[in-house]
Subunit: 202 residues, 2 copies
DNA sequence: TAAATTCAAGTGGTCTGACCACTACTTTAA
DNA sequence: TTAAAGTAGTGGTCAGACCACTTGAATTTA
């Protein structure tokens, strides 16, 4: 019946690896112990270790180099998202929640920016006008979040944003985003929030 | 040189599985071929197949039942988001950042509650007064976040909250938290935010 | 006949040991 | 001094072996 308690070896390994990273405060580019070493130290077979490593590799958290080793990687979930997209039939509720949270985070971002020292957004406006990529929203907010100077905050938004990839913006949106930035620049919070709303309601 | 093109077996397997799912239009609950079957059909070893399966299992896309088989699962981004968050959060993060983000999530929580339909907080106030545990903050906000009806939002806060292990509340805090809830009840946002601030500034 | 038991086949879970391919470094030879 | 060859360590992959578990059929029992 209630069998869910069975923890698999590869999951334990996963946890141990995470702990190892934390304990040795490894960061981007650092090398993990070899598969054989991990297997021995964690008292697991190399296969199990590999299952764990492959899993977090797919998540984009590590990178393996044949003949060299396994390395921590800067987290970039792009390929994960692509992968997921092909597998997933998204559920409406879920999608709604994702967007709601994203919206929330962005509101706070704007609020933070406005309540901090005034700064110029000239460059951002220019680069927005010239932006030619797929996802204007991501572009603009990446820039805005970076200004907030809270790495964690940025990462969380980034994470959510990647999962809520939905409709790609059409050209009309340029105006909306530029208005938004202008509102931020003039430190008008309620106007900025309204601009953001209009983007979401579209 | 251009070595990046080296595709690993487990990635090919992954792709084939995806194609299989698509071709047979499998959906939630349907069973995939057994590991041994997949290995044979895809001309790979069982280990490689398992590496692929473990990876997407970790992503939350499939579910394996010992002795039964491997099944497609309803996809919940929470799972992935949570998983990734545990890694992201373990990267060097200052306590200040954690608290700032937590604070900010809580502000949004209050804001959401206040802008939604009015509700009674009588029970919450009572149980807060009687609360006898270690962490009043967690208690009160767990309740508040649940009222927001966005599971993802709740989970993110929960994660951050766990990592920002602060602390011990002294009795004086009871008043602060009760005031906070009262402000929410009377739908007075600015007052609620102020109450929250006073908790953080303490 | 109906119910309980036993048993066999199929499945995932794990481990071992073996090669191969690649990299970086050391040793050797020119 | 420099170039080449060798070597040790690493990830990549595979084959095969058990084990634990589930299911359903065959068998036994009531």
């Amino acid at each position: 019946m209630t069998n869910t308690s069975k923890i698999k070896v590869y999951q334990e390994v996963l946890d141990k690896i995470r702990q190892f990273i934390e304990a040795n405060s490894l960061s981007e580019g650092d090398r993990l112990p070899s598969e054989r070493e991990l297997a021995e130290q964690l008292n697991a077979s190399r296969s199990s270790v590999r299952e764990a490593l492959r899993a977090i590799e797919l998540l984009g958290l590590i990178e393996t180099k044949h003949g060299e080793g396994t390395f921590l990687k800067t987290y970039r979930p792009y390929h994960t998202v692509e992968l997921l997209a092909t597998f997933v039939l998204r559920q409406p509720t879920t999608k709604h929640e994702l967007l709601e949270v994203r919206h929330l985070l962005e509101e706070q971002c704007l609020s933070k920016l406005i309540s901090s020292e005034q700064q110029s957004f000239k460059e951002l406006i220019d680069s927005t006008k010239q932006y030619n990529g797929q996802d204007l929203h991501t572009f603009v907010f990446s820039e805005l979040f970076e200004l907030v100077d809270n790495e964690l905050f940025y990462k969380i938004w980034h994470l959510i944003n990647n999962f809520s990839q939905t409709t790609y913006s059409n050209k009309l949106d340029y105006d909306r985003y530029i208005n938004l930035v202008l509102s931020v620049e003039s430190q008008d919070l309620s106007s900025a929030l309204q601009d953001l709303n209009s983007i979401y309601e579209k």
